[in-house]
């Protein structure tokens, strides 16, 4: 009896810890808290920050990045990785502007870019599944090929892309909400439904959680992963379309620098690079956090060089905290 009295409180506290932080949602909840803290801090530091206008601005600005991060999340959960996605976004703008310049309707260009992206996704998928090559190497190579082609096609120049109906996709609003933000949110919700409510979603988590076991259970591993590469590539094409429409111009390297942000957001959102674990909501919060950080620091007149530094620090800090939390639970 005496012994049980002695040990019970500690055991109880530990139980409570596990109940609080061991839930699958706790990682996302922590990101949410961090997001709120960030908003609070910037609100105090800058009077321009916490306005509806500015908040919607952030949502619109991060949308094309969020779109790629959303599609990249299930791919990484399934054990893949797509480094070519931002390059595809760049190529998309180039293809659209060139076809438009040749006299084709703008939407033909968009459609063709999506088809090309789909084909690139299939190639990425086939190389990583059938040939069992490391996705890091395959998609790094693909990134180089695609950005190279985009540069060749344009000679490295940025081309104007001003078409009235088209630019609305980038800068238009529906009941005050930026169109890109709506597209991103629809993507997030759609992927969430697929990943948690549909059979395909089970295959995603199973493939990344234990590929060999999944193969022995007879689930269509290769097909699952190839489809995810296609989804990722197409998200790149749509992101490129949005970016082109927002900027009114298409540059071959327009989106390339955002690749790191995309990957950072997925990891910051709690998706395991080893596969098998993660959620799109974590990614969404991470995208918003990174976008807010950017916006807030700009409002505070911090140079963009220091913004890069800050982003890196936040990423490493958040990932370390998550790791410490996981270890504390003794997993």
């Amino acid at each position: 009896m005496a012994q049980s009295i002695e040990t019970h409180p500690a055991g109880g506290a530990r139980e409570q810890m596990i109940q609080l932080f061991g839930k699958p949602w706790s990682g996302v909840a922590m990101l949410g808290i961090f997001y709120l803290i960030l908003i609070a801090v910037f609100s105090v530091l800058s009077p321009y920050f916490l306005t509806l206008r500015n908040m919607l601005q952030i949502g619109g600005n991060v949308a094309y990045i969020g779109l790629m991060a959303a599609a990249g999340t299930p791919l990484i959960i399934a054990g893949g990785l797509d480094l070519s996605v931002a390059a595809i976004a760049g190529l998309t703008g180039v293809v659209i502007s060139m076809l438009h310049g040749m006299g084709f309707p703008i939407w033909i260009g968009v459609l063709l870019a999506i088809v090309v992206a789909g084909a690139i996704g299939v190639v990425n998928g086939l190389f990583t599944t059938r040939l069992r090559l490391n996705p890091l190497i395959v998609t790094l190579g693909m990134m180089s090929i695609i950005s190279g082609i985009a540069l060749v096609l344009t000679g490295g120049l940025t081309r104007p892309l001003m078409v009235p109906g088209f630019n609305w996709v980038g800068s238009g609003r529906v009941i005050g909400i930026p169109i890109p933000f709506i597209i991103m949110m629809v993507t997030f919700v759609g992927l969430w439904v697929i990943m948690t409510k549909m059979r395909f979603g089970r295959y995603i988590y199973a493939a990344g959680g234990n590929a060999e076991a999944s193969r022995l259970i007879g689930i269509p591993l290769e097909k699952t992963v190839i489809i995810l590469y296609v989804i990722s590539a197409i998200s790149g094409a749509i992101a490129g379309t949005i970016l082109g429409a927002m900027l009114g111009a298409a540059g071959p390297t327009a989106a390339g620098s955002q690749l790191l942000t995309v990957i950072a957001a997925i990891i910051l959102g709690g998706t395991s690079l080893n596969g098998g674990r993660g959620s799109v909501w974590g990614t969404l919060l991470a995208v918003l956090i990174l976008g807010t950080l950017n916006n807030g620091l700009t409002l505070l007149n911090v140079s963009s060089f220091w913004q890069d530094v800050t982003r890196g620090v936040v990423l490493m800090l958040a990932v370390s905290l998550d790791q410490i939390r996981t270890r504390a639970l003794g997993e």
């Binding site: 549909m198 959680g209 234990n210 022995l216 259970i217 007879g218 098998g276 674990r277």
Partner: protein, 508 residues
């Protein structure tokens, strides 16, 4: 001899993991130049004893003396420094280094040139040459890359490495496991040379014929205790087998009466896989448990997955499944043909650790829980709860992560996956590996129940007691061939004897 101390004296060795005793009061002595075979079935404590000797584990009690001097190895390096060296079952050589570099790995001779310390390759070459000549292998050259050598020659390089480190006691764990009979002879030749040089050898093997060929003395362990010591020359195999396995039938397997075999479910003929299986043929009926026993490397680890389709299309095999011609193609194909497969390595090949019990159970046949476009979690949960109940899976509920279950309960989940309409044949590899005794009995009971419900159950196992205990019929695989066939009630010793490559031998 009586006046000098033995090369190795282990006395009263005890070891527990948690509350489970694995070794109690075990003695082992080895004289200089003596070859002692250490025998025992799975879980008898052989490898624990050897891990204590070589400093991988600490002992709870007892003493260890080398050449009369008490020793207490804190880690493997300390053991090696005292001349105690373990050659593990898996060959560990550096394939991209030369023979000489492998032999002197970790202790390369050095020289100083232009004031810089560097490896003295000439000395290394000369000394490697000496060692290899001493072992009788003039054909292995010090400058060869190790990856160009055969498996047996790599073994020899490993032994040479142990000798370069001045090993006085060499522990060899299944040194011939991956070798042909010819190659095994080479290893024996080396062991005889080692004897001449007064090196002591502790030889662990399942193959009785090898043990009788090479050892001077046999020490048998059973359930973590000494179960007999025999002078090899004066001993019959039957005596050793009896000591290893005991003659009592364990009530572990007393889990219900077998049913009457029904229609033929599986018929296999002419199944061959180059270098692994040769002309395997057998049949299996409804309500029947067929056990196939084989030691590591016998082909027992590929036969089940080959039939399931996990090894890809089989070129040479005539298989009928449920009366229809069936060609193993892929895991998916096998599943759709009505085969359920439970793999040996549960963590690597069985569970999806981060998914729940419900998801793990539903995974192979998700389409059956689909309602329109979406999964019906309610139906999945209902299905999971049914089998959690019927198989007695101890879990807080279907939403518990499978990773937090015990090994035995994880295994039951891996079985539950296949218990759906349409599956006729269950293939299980090592069904109770890494499962504690209580859960083992439960799993045997459930397998019997499933057989009685009409499943055909095929078990592939390297645990001879398990196969003898649970099977209605059992087959013995050895070097890819079926070498024995037994009815229910056969003794483990008979099955083990069938692997001995000695047809003259009759079991007790």
């Amino acid at each position: 001899m009586a006046t000098t101390a033995p090369r190795l004296g282990m006395h009263g060795i005890g070891k527990s993991f948690g509350r489970v005793p694995v070794l109690s009061d075990v003695d082992l002595t080895v004289d200089p130049g003596e070859v002692v075979a250490l025998l025992g079935s799975n879980g008898a404590g052989k490898s624990t004893l050897m891990k204590i000797l070589t400093g991988l584990y600490t002992r709870d009690g007892g003493t260890i003396q080398v050449d009369g001097e008490a020793v207490d190895f804190k880690d493997p390096a300390a053991a090696v420094a005292s001349g105690v060296k373990l050659l593990p079952q898996e060959i560990s050589v550096m394939p991209d280094m030369t023979v000489a570099e492998n032999i002197f790995l970790g202790d390369m001779p050095l020289k100083r040139r232009f004031g810089i310390l560097q490896v003295d390759k000439d000395v290394m070459r000369v000394r490697s040459r000496e060692l290899l000549d001493q072992l009788g292998f003039a054909n292995i050259l010090p400058d060869m890359l190790v990856k160009r050598l055969s498996v047996a020659e790599q073994r020899i390089v490993e032994i040479a490495r142990a000798l370069a480190g001045k090993a006085r006691i060499l522990v060899m764990d299944e040194p011939t496991a991956a070798l042909t009979e010819q190659e095994a002879k080479m290893i024996f030749k080396i062991i005889r040379r080692l004897k001449e040089n007064k090196v002591s050898v502790i030889y662990i093997s399942h193959y009785l014929s090898e043990v009788f060929e090479i050892s001077d003395r046999i020490v048998v362990l059973r359930d973590g205790r000494n179960a007999g010591t025999f002078i090899t020359a004066d001993t019959q195999r039957a005596e050793v087998l009896a000591a290893m396995l005991g003659n009592t039938v364990d009530d572990l397997y007393d889990v219900g009466a077998p049913g009457i075999a029904g229609a033929e479910i599986l018929n296999v003929e002419k199944l061959s896989i180059p270098r692994k299986l040769e002309d395997v043929a057998f049949s299996l009926h409804q309500n029947e448990i067929l056990g196939i026993f084989g030691l590591v490397g016998s082909g027992v680890e590929v036969l089940g997955r080959a039939l399931y389709g996990a090894l890809g299309p089989l070129k040479t095999a005539e298989v009928r499944l449920g009366g229809q011609s069936y060609r193993p193609m892929s895991a998916r194909n096998g599943k759709l043909a009505g085969i359920g497969f439970v793999a040996a390595e549960r963590k690597k090949e069985g569970i999806i650790a981060d998914l729940t019990v419900r998801e793990n159970i539903a995974l192979p046949f998700e389409e059956r829980f689909e309602r329109g476009l979406f999964m019906s979690q309610a139906e999945e949960a209902q299905h999971a709860i049914r089998w959690i109940g019927e198989l007695g899976i101890r879990t807080r509920g279907p939403e518990q992560k499978i990773r937090t279950l015990s090994g035995g309960n994880q295994q039951k989940v891996c079985i539950a996956r296949w218990l759906v309409e349409g599956v006729k044949l269950l293939i299980l590899e090592e069904p109770t590996r890494g499962v504690d005794v209580g859960a083992r009995r439960e799993i045997y009971g459930k397998l019997r129940e499933l057989a009685n419900r009409g499943y055909a159950v095929l078990i592939l196992s390297s645990d001879v007691e398990e196969v003898a205990g649970i099977s209605d019929r059992s087959l013995v695989l050895d070097r890819g061939r079926i070498v024995g066939q037994f009815e229910r009630g056969a003794k483990p010793a008979e099955l083990m004897a069938a692997t001995g490559n000695d047809p003259a031998f009759q079991a007790p």
